[in-house]
């Protein structure tokens, strides 16, 4: 059995099946939906950071742009929701294309520029001068398309597609080439890898994933403000979840989301400051003691983690 079929059967299929069945068993549908969203976003971060080494510190920019793309399609063009989700993906890709020049920057410069880009999009969308288009800082309400059941199914479909792409990266020469570029762009170029094209494709796929997730999120919640969908928590959580599990693998981000987001919901929201404190300490401990993620505990012993 080729390894990508094995990965699809043993990892992707059970996960998707679990999230398809769970709403019938477990009552907190919002929590399940958030799990799916974070699984998508963590894999999106995995695609760009794990396989190319670019840290998207403003990843939420694509998510928020997708959410607003969805909202604008629904409000102004009365598009049916599934089509509007596709449009949200297109908005994510367009923003990604607009920001492609950022890939010229390296290391921390890229991360900071990406953060600035996300904040710029937030302030653009939330500007009172654009109230007639985006409703500015006052938020949007899309009661006409409100349908959490369908939105949840949409999110699971997007998760399946995202996981499929990561399985492809993990098992194809394309994914190998990306990792080669991450390790040493000059040597990879010498070996005949088209460095720029590879990076741009990974970047746009990652933007597409976040845009789709933003669109389906807007569909699910139907009422939101710019600060909700551009909250830097999305970027940070997605990055921390992916890192905690271990990037450049299929399993890593999944394990990271299930464990960390699980803990997050177990602790509860009663006092946000204590919560922020615990989370900050956890993030620091992660970087200091487990910088290559949980999967490194296995790979260190020579086990192969998909």
């Amino acid at each position: 059995m080729p390894s990508f079929v094995r990965h699809l059967l043993l990892i992707v299929a059970p996960l998707i099946a679990a999230f398809a069945i769970l709403p019938g068993v477990y009552d907190n549908h919002l929590l399940l939906f958030n799990f799916v969203i974070f699984l998508i976003l963590a894999q999106g971060v995995n695609i760009i950071y794990g396989f190319t080494g670019y840290l998207p510190f403003g990843y939420v920019g694509f998510f928020g742009a997708g959410a607003y793309g969805f909202a604008i399609m629904v409000m102004h063009l009365q598009t049916p929701a599934p089509l509007a989700v596709l449009a949200a993906g297109v908005v994510g890709v367009l923003l990604g294309l607009l920001l492609t020049p950022l890939l010229r920057l390296s290391g921390a410069y890229f991360a900071i520029a990406n953060l600035a880009a996300a904040l710029a999009v937030l302030h653009f969308v939330a500007n009172p001068a654009l109230e007639s288009i985006t409703k500015g800082p006052y938020g949007v309400a899309l009661s006409g398309t409100f349908n959490p059941t369908l939105a949840y199914i949409g999110a699971v479909v997007i998760l399946a597609l995202t996981l499929g792409f990561v399985v492809f990266l993990r098992n194809s020469s394309f994914g190998m080439a990306l990792q080669a570029v991450r390790e040493d762009a000059v040597s990879a170029a010498m070996a005949g890898v088209n460095v720029v094209k590879m990076r741009v494709i990974a970047w746009l796929v990652s933007a597409l994933v976040a845009g789709l997730a933003g669109g389906v999120f807007a569909w699910y919640v139907s009422v939101f403000y710019p600060d909700n969908v551009f909250s830097s928590d999305f970027s940070i959580f997605a990055i921390v979840f992916a890192l905690f599990g271990g990037v450049a693998t299929i399993m890593g981000p999944i394990v990271g989301v299930v464990i960390l987001y699980g803990i997050y919901n177990l602790i509860g929201f009663t006092t946000p400051q204590y919560f922020q404190l615990i989370y900050g300490v956890l993030i620091m401990a992660l970087v200091l003691f487990l910088p290559a993620g949980l999967v490194s505990l296995a790979t260190r012993r020579g086990w192969n983690v998909p």
Binding site: Y109, A117, Y279, I283
Partner: protein, 306 residues
């Protein structure tokens, strides 16, 4: 019409230079992105609150206190965090996440201790000691606004600008006229060669880290006067602003940061005066444009190419 925003821009710009220079030093010497820079600014502001509200003294006295305190904090933090971080595979990227965690911890602790309310100090209290001293010597000190070229500005702005110039001058003297400063510049240009010639890189870096945090804390003392008020959540925005200034100037060059600060200050004041609804966007857009057109900054010599 134009004179007021230009002069105010220079005054703010000198202050902005001080705001960015500590970040510049830390990133230039260690290639570490101190994402908690703004939070040390916020802590500096709380030192000023303590000096004024608890001890009842001139907030200007908080400047030496905050500096000494945070140089010590910086040296301790360096020992705890940085050597471990630098063992990891990708310290530059992981530093972003590590210091994001630290900023969360600081923000949470300050919120738990002091609450989320906005705090400020009456503007006339800054420099009250000097006014009193001048009165005792028989001179007639002018309280209230200061006249520059026929325009009047709050005295606090002028005092902040003067202290900023002194602090930047001292950084220049440190880097170019002292032995430790020369070693610092050696580490800045080539870390491994500096190590090979027997320079105690760890000691140099610890000093630079301490001074970087100390400078941030000094800038923080003036933050309540320049920005009106300070909350525990002030740090994140301050960090991005500091980044814009550092990148506008150039890395590892204190004079570059001074220029970057002034350019930023003037842009800031001009946008506030003539296009105020878009003022929020300025730092982010300016940062992206500068990074793309001239990644090495206005006074930079060598471009880092991806």
């Amino acid at each position: 019409m134009l004179a007021y925003p230009l002069i105010a821009g220079v005054l703010f710009g000198l202050y902005f230079s001080l705001l960015g220079i500590g970040l510049n030093l830390v990133f230039g010497v260690m290639r570490i992105v101190n994402l908690a820079h703004g939070d040390f600014l916020m802590l500096g502001a709380f030192v000023a609150f303590g000096v004024f509200y608890v001890l009842g003294l001139d907030p200007l006295l908080a400047v030496p206190l905050a500096f000494v305190l945070f140089v010590i904090v910086g040296i301790v933090l360096y020992g705890l965090l940085v050597p471990r971080l630098q063992q990891s595979r990708d310290p530059e990227m992981l530093s972003i996440i590590l210091f994001f965690g630290l900023s969360q911890v600081i923000e949470a602790l300050v919120t738990i201790a002091f609450g989320t309310s906005e705090r400020s100090i009456p503007s006339r209290e800054l420099g009250s000691l000097m006014t009193a001293a001048a009165k005792a010597l028989g001179a007639k000190p002018e309280g209230g606004p200061v006249d520059i070229l026929g325009q009047s500005f709050p005295a606090a702005w002028v005092i902040s600008a003067v202290v900023s110039v002194i602090a930047i001058g001292l950084v220049y003297v440190y880097l170019y006229r002292t032995r430790l400063g020369t070693l610092t510049r050696a580490v800045m240009s080539r870390r491994d060669e500096a190590f090979a010639t027997g320079i105690n890189v760890d000691r140099v870096c610890a000093a630079a880290f301490g001074i970087g945090l100390g400078l941030a804390a000094i800038a923080g003392v003036f933050a309540p006067f320049m920005f009106g008020s300070v909350t525990p959540a002030f740090g994140a925005d301050a960090t991005v602003t500091a980044f814009v200034i550092v990148v506008l100037g150039s890395l590892g060059n204190p004079l570059g940061t001074a220029l970057g600060g002034i350019v930023y200050g003037i842009c800031y004041m001009l946008v506030q005066t003539f296009l105020s609804s878009w003022a929020d966007l300025l730092p982010y857009v300016l940062l992206i444009v500068v990074l793309l057109l001239r990644p090495s900054g206005l006074l930079g010599r060598k471009v880092r190419v991806a």
